[in-house]
């Protein structure tokens, strides 16, 4: 897949409505990943579904989605501009994932991202994504079913992410990382802030965790990596790339910086490359890994 820059919108942030995805592409993202879509409609959890922790965010949206049958329109609205739209899907079994993937492909998605990593919903996401055998089965079946590229998005909430990365070896790229499982308690209300109690932490606080995951997986596998987690400026992007990422996804930073973040980071990266005398992004990828 060709990208005009390494900057992709991460799944679950401003990507439920086709018009929003389209605007984000128009305003500078190289590609967008849709919100994760499942087989049937899910309302998700009752608000509060986010807690603001400074610039970080704890969320338990609860995989709310209209169901795959209702998502074709959003993809075609988003594709009003000719840039890649990556369809994110979640399921409980290899069979469910592959059915969802074919639907996404038929709607015009340019790639499929497998959500093997949402930390706050029972039976999905990281519960699926921490079982290496199941991960391998899902990736294998989806790869056999669709012809567009398949990305596997992994969870940091495991003992050994390299082991899961190797299980997902058949994927065209790995997306590292999803949110970190966490809780916030309101000490005056004396209860968890999120209605679901558990949520996923995102934002600057998790960047070092994401960089570590990319670093380890880059060293141990030959997979293409898309870095994600806590990126809010060009330095973060370069850091992820030096750890081994070829592209990155940006999510929570839109809360502070707004949709203009993609254009702003792009400008800053170009300036950085000029100042450092770099000819292409290839020179950066993996450059920070200790040999």
């Amino acid at each position: 897949m060709q990208l005009e820059s390494p900057l992709i919108l991460a799944s679950g942030i401003l990507d439920e409505n086709g018009y929003t995805m389209r605007r984000i592409l128009e305003e500078g993202a190289a590609a967008v990943v849709t919100k994760s879509i499942g087989s049937t409609e899910r309302p998700g959890f009752t608000p509060p579904v986010v807690a603001e922790l400074g610039e970080n965010l704890l969320n338990a949206i609860g995989l709310s989605n209209p169901g795959i049958e209702h998502f074709a329109d959003e993809i075609s609205i988003a594709k009003g501009i000719r840039k890649p739209v990556i369809g994110s899907i979640f399921g409980a079994s290899a069979e469910e994932f592959s059915t969802l993937a074919s639907k996404m492909e038929s709607y015009g998605a340019d790639a499929i991202e497998l959500n093997l990593s949402c930390p706050h919903v029972k039976g999905f996401g990281s519960e699926v994504g921490s079982d290496p055998d199941l991960v391998e089965e899902i990736v294998t079946e989806v790869k056999a079913k669709v012809s567009v590229p398949v990305f596997a998005k992994l969870t940091p909430n495991v003992t050994d992410i390299v082991k899961i990365a190797k299980a997902a070896e058949k994927a065209d790229a790995l997306v590292l990382i999803n949110t970190v499982k966490a809780i916030h308690i309101d000490i005056y209300a004396r209860r968890p802030t999120l209605s679901n109690a558990y949520g996923g932490l995102s934002g600057p606080a998790i960047k070092p965790i994401g960089v570590r995951a990319v670093y380890d997986v880059y060293r141990e596998t030959s997979k293409e990596i898309i870095g994600c987690g806590g990126i809010s400026n060009f330095e973060d992007v370069i850091e992820y790339m030096m750890a081994g990422a070829r592209a990155v996804e940006v999510g929570t930073a839109l809360k502070t910086a707004g949709r203009a973040i993609f254009d702003n980071i792009k400008t800053d990266i170009i300036r950085f490359m000029e100042a450092e005398g770099l000819d292409g992004i290839q020179e950066i990828i993996g450059a920070g890994v200790k040999r």
Partner: protein, 248 residues
Amino acid sequence: MIHADIIRKEKLSPTVSTLYFHWDADVKPGQFVMVWAPGTGEIPMSLSHIGKEKAFTVKNYGPTSDMLIKLEPGQKVYFRGPYGRPFSVVKGKTLLIGGGSGMASLHPLINRNAFGLIAARTREEILFMNEFESGKVRVTTDDGSFGIKGNVLAGLKDLDVDAFDMIYACGPEIMLYNLYKYLKEKKVNAELSLERLMKCGVGVCDSCSINGFQLCRDGPTFTMDQLQYMNEFGTEKLTFSGTRVNVH
């Protein structure tokens, strides 16, 4: 999450109350907070009072607003914010058009230069009528139990909208959409404050978006010019799960 003790409660109608609290923050007219009723839910509420003493005016629609309206002085309110783009404040004559609980967000704009047009379903639901100077307010009710019978457009019929330097409006989307179509012909300055489902309030979840603009961040107030490019305005929206449906 911010927390404050309720210092006073004022019942405005059988289904609407104002809850006052101290909160040392700079809030502008039209901004809102996400109010949390622990164990029940979290919903967007405009600040109806933005001086040293703050307040929101809540109408009982469902579970969360019902919990809030039952709070009493001495109990705590929990909220985060303020969020959203405020109304732009102008000098000169203003027209405030409020439908139902939409009057809450217009309340901070009531002053000597303001003329009010209040649209309510029935007599009991008219809010803040007596806060306008005498002779500077008119009311429409759907059932004709007070004022002019009909919707907001009936109240505008013989009003010279050109005479105002700015028109502010807040209410249900369908009312604002009809108002927008009416005002578009007149070439007036107007800002409309929209209401849509809001899950996060901070511009990440996409539940409140219209044509890629986040109500919670780019709005909730929009100018006539901005609204003109939004084909989802008044026509389509996403439900709690994200399913595309007609607005009404």
